[in-house]
């Protein structure tokens, strides 16, 4: 009998990195569908472009680092980064946005730090921050959601816009460079208008922005599924959304004219998306459960601060990157008490 002598456990682990990453991709499907419904097919081009660039960069870097290509290309981690990035940029952003974003995300943030598992920063958010800073104009060209514009660009128009950087003829520039609800809010408040007044604008829906709030719901749907499948733990989403509500409620009660309501905070911008898909990135986040609570709370607080005081309408990307820096420290401070050790003792 030819027996293998290997350490316990003797059954293979129940999951793989690839399986975990694929679940994240599946969980994004509802939100992508909603996105297409409200903003047209541009997002599909963005996803395709970003995935292609990401895989290309990943393969090139793995080759340069002389690492086996197969396991790392099939682990789907680069694809997840690409999709998360694509979901954060305007649907008609020109192709060089995806190229630059993936260059920063995959080459610099991920591979130069040592590849999968070694990156300190969330690659998708590094890519996003890079393009926000590099192409501020391109990154502010948002489409108006479906019911507001005369018609959404079709597949052909989207392709032309993305690949030439020029917008299709029948569409007016105006309809495209719509301010996002958070933009509108920020400039409105700066012009001393009241939140209720600003919110009368057609781009606002019941809680957040028109369309946006629905997309947020679909992100949450995918997020719940990830929770159910135990791909993510509840700590980060609860901390992000809980802290947002906890902090924005008193501010809103004190100054409802200049502070948006907690629901608006939650349902605008990338907050729900970040709560379930971005701040839950394991590699650049916290590994202890209490650390995850702190991490999520930090993301929420920084996002609120940037929305209120910063130069960008939404600060999720920067908030996540800042918290990435703090994560190792938080992990160290939140080590659990080992079983059987006296209370209060921490290794």
């Amino acid at each position: 009998m030819n027996l293998t002598v290997a350490g316990a456990p003797h059954l293979p682990p129940i999951t793989t990195v690839g399986a975990v990453m694929r679940q994240v991709l599946y969980a994004l499907v509802p939100a992508v569908v909603a996105h297409v419904w409200f903003f047209g097919p541009g997002i599909l081009f963005q996803i395709t472009l970003a995935v292609a660039f990401a895989l290309g960069f990943e393969a090139a870097m793995l080759r340069l680092r002389r690492v086996a290509l197969r396991p790392f290309l099939t682990d789907c981690s680069a694809i997840v980064t690409a999709v998360l990035f694509a979901l954060s940029v305007p649907p008609l952003a020109p192709w060089w946005v995806a190229l630059t974003g993936m260059l920063f995300a995959i080459v610099i943030a991920k591979q130069l730090y040592g590849g999968l598992g070694h990156n300190l920063f969330n690659p998708a958010m590094v890519g996003l921050a890079a393009v926000i800073i590099a192409f501020p104009i391109d990154l502010s060209q948002w489409l108006a959601p479906r019911s507001l514009s005369a018609g959404l660009p079709g597949v052909w128009e989207s392709a032309v816009a993305i690949f030439t950087g020029r917008l299709p003829d029948p569409m007016s520039w105006d309809a495209i460079s719509q301010a996002t609800p958070l933009d509108a809010l920020k400039t409105g408040v700066a012009e001393n208008r009241m939140v209720a007044e600003i919110r009368d604008a057609p781009i606002f829906g019941d809680f957040g922005g028109l369309g946006w709030e629905w997309i947020a719901n679909f992100y949450a749907l995918g997020g719940f599924w990830l929770l159910y499948r135990r791909v993510i733990s509840w700590h980060v989403p609860v901390a992000v959304i809980g802290t947002t509500i906890l902090v924005s409620t008193p501010m809103w009660l004190i100054g409802p004219d200049i502070n948006p309501s907690p629901l608006q905070h939650v349902f605008s911008g990338a907050l729900v998306f970040a709560a379930f898909f971005i701040a839950t990135d394991p590699v650049s986040g916290c590994g202890t459960m209490r650390g995850r609570l702190l991490f999520g709370a930090g993301v929420a607080l920084l996002t609120l601060a940037i929305r209120r005081f910063g130069g960008y309408p939404d600060g999720v990307a920067f908030a996540v990157l800042l918290m990435n820096m703090a994560a190792p420290m938080i992990d160290r401070l939140t080590r659990p008490r080992t079983f059987g050790h006296p209370r209060g003792e921490r290794p």
Partner: protein, 516 residues
């Protein structure tokens, strides 16, 4: 001692896993004896600790139950002839641990008569002194039959605080293993009687038998057995939910009492002794039947076994013989495991034989063990943290061990890892975490760096020594005091007596004078 209930309210231990238990497949047939092989191979040490002193020579004819070694202390456990026959060799034999390793053993050729000598046993254990009972168990070769093989006498006798309760562990939480369940089904009365004997031996006020919630029928049978015997010590059955590794002593105690066994302590410090149900049944066999530990129930199971079953096997039976008795294999076997799939020992060969702690033989095929991906870097997903019952940070330990930073790992309480395998089982990167921990512990031990626990154990030991010396000094002081007092009293008495004498003498002197 902390104040707590036992089993009235169930608690949770951190982490753990719900696993598919695969137990039914081996429970379809009733228990049956495994055929006696043509040769029994018996390692001298079948327990944690040094082997006993050898008592036989090649060529000796022995009766079943006859001791082959003698224990010189509580940490040594004797072995006995599992049947009558001839000693045909004293040699190094293949053992399960280390895999492929060899250790001194006895080769015994059965004569087929299966003649048994009853060993000394009390006429009536109910009137036997606790210490005599423990002595009887010790010479009967009792060691933890749950798999750990810890010498039972050492667990029962020691400088412990008074023992409040005996916990019998019937929650075998590892997948596939069902030997304890079968035992509880078929010999509930033996377990209950064994429990009463053990309770008497340690002076426990009550016995709690913990079983899993999936063993519904077992509960009824145990309860019937409890009602059938006289209630000198209360015995209760408590059902616990099945979560791996609940069968771990510390986890079970936490579930039953909410208390954590201190990392540098023992259950006895909480006033508890925890033993396996099989150990209790064996205790009964030793004390009541005069039959030392010569056989045990072994689950032979796994996808590689044709007819999974539970067999009563004489110690020393080769694994290969048991597999044959279970209908052979279904095809090529990739791995043989002694114990369960989560924490069992890999066997290097099927010539290894059954010893006191061999609860399960698991045969796995290539497709059962194949991994779907190579080992990848840790992605810090925290799954391992979520499931660790010791509340460790497995990924951080791994990081330091991979960087050969062993001291840091020790400071992160590496030695509190119970090697349950939960972390490795959920790791999406397929990192063999437990191998790293074992290796790390080995390196630290080798370097002679005492781990934190050993240090604390030593501190405890020293504190105890000091307590004992102090107690002795105190006793000495009291004795001297008493003696002095006695002496003083004597002196006082002497004085009184002298005074009386003097007075008498005076009186006598007068009268004498008068009289003379």
């Amino acid at each position: 001692m902390a104040d707590f209930d036992i089993g009235n309210q169930l608690h949770r231990f951190p982490g753990g896993l719900k696993l598919r238990h695969h137990k039914q497949i081996a429970c379809r047939e009733p228990l049956r004896p495994a055929p006696l092989p043509s040769r029994l191979v018996l390692p001298l040490a079948q327990h944690q600790g040094p082997a006993g002193e050898l008592l036989v020579e090649v060529g000796d004819r022995v009766a079943g139950g006859q001791p082959l070694t003698r224990a010189r202390g509580d940490r040594e456990v004797p072995i006995h002839a599992p049947t009558s026959g001839t000693v045909v060799g004293l040699d190094d034999v293949e053992v399960a641990w280390p895999p492929g390793g060899r250790a001194p053993g006895v080769l015994l050729e059965p004569d087929g008569e299966d003649r048994f000598d009853r060993s000394d046993r009390p006429a009536d254990w109910k009137s036997e002194a606790p210490d005599a009972l423990i002595e009887c168990l010790r010479t009967g070769g009792l060691a933890g039959l749950g798999g750990a093989m810890f010498p039972t006498a050492a667990k029962l006798r020691g400088p412990f605080p008074p023992i409040r309760a005996l916990i019998l562990n019937g929650s075998e939480c590892e997948p596939y293993i069902s030997c304890d369940e079968m035992l509880m089904r078929e010999r509930p009365a033996a377990i209950v009687e064994g429990a009463r004997i053990l309770a008497r031996a340690i002076g426990a006020e009550e016995v709690v038998i913990a079983i899993e919630d999936q063993m519904g029928a077992v509960r009824k049978e145990l309860n019937a057995a409890i009602r059938a015997t006289d209630p000198d010590v209360p015995v209760r059955v408590v059902q616990v939910t099945t979560i791996y590794p609940e069968g771990g002593e510390k986890q079970l105690i936490q579930v039953l009492t909410g208390q954590e066994v201190p990392h540098d302590g023992l259950p006895q410090d909480l006033g508890l002794v925890c033993l396996n149900v099989a150990t209790a049944a064996a205790a009964r066999d030793i004390v009541v039947d005069g039959r030392p530990v010569v056989e045990r129930i072994v689950t032979v199971s796994g996808p590689g076994i044709a007819r999974p079953c539970n067999l009563v096997a004489r110690l020393g039976t080769p694994v290969a013989a048991l597999i044959e008795a279970a209908g052979g294999t279904t095809g090529p076997i990739d791995r043989l495991v002694l114990g369960g799939p989560m924490s069992g020992l890999p066997l290097a060969s099927d010539r290894v034989t059954i010893t006191k702690g061999s609860n399960c033989i698991l045969a796995l095929r290539q497709e059962d063990t194949a991994r779907r991906q190579p080992v990848m870097p840790c992605i810090n997903c925290g799954e391992c943290v979520r499931v660790c019952p010791a509340s460790l940070l497995p990924q951080t330990l791994f990081k330091h061990l991979a960087a050969e930073d062993y001291e840091e790992a020790r400071d992160l309480n590496l030695f509190d890892c119970i090697e349950c395998g939960c972390c490795a089982h959920v790791c999406p990167s397929h990192i063999p975490l437990v191998d790293h921990y074992r290796h790390g512990k080995g390196v630290l031990r080798e370097r002679g760096i005492e781990d934190a626990r050993a240090e604390l154990a030593r501190a405890r030991f020293e504190a105890r020594e000091q307590r004992l010396t102090e107690r002795e000094a105190e006793r000495q002081r009291k004795r001297e005091q008493r003696e002095r007092k006695l002496r003083d009293a004597d002196a006082a008495k002497d004085e009184v007596r002298a005074a009386i004498e003097r007075a008498r003498a005076r009186a006598r002197g007068g009268s004498t004078g008068d009289g003379e």
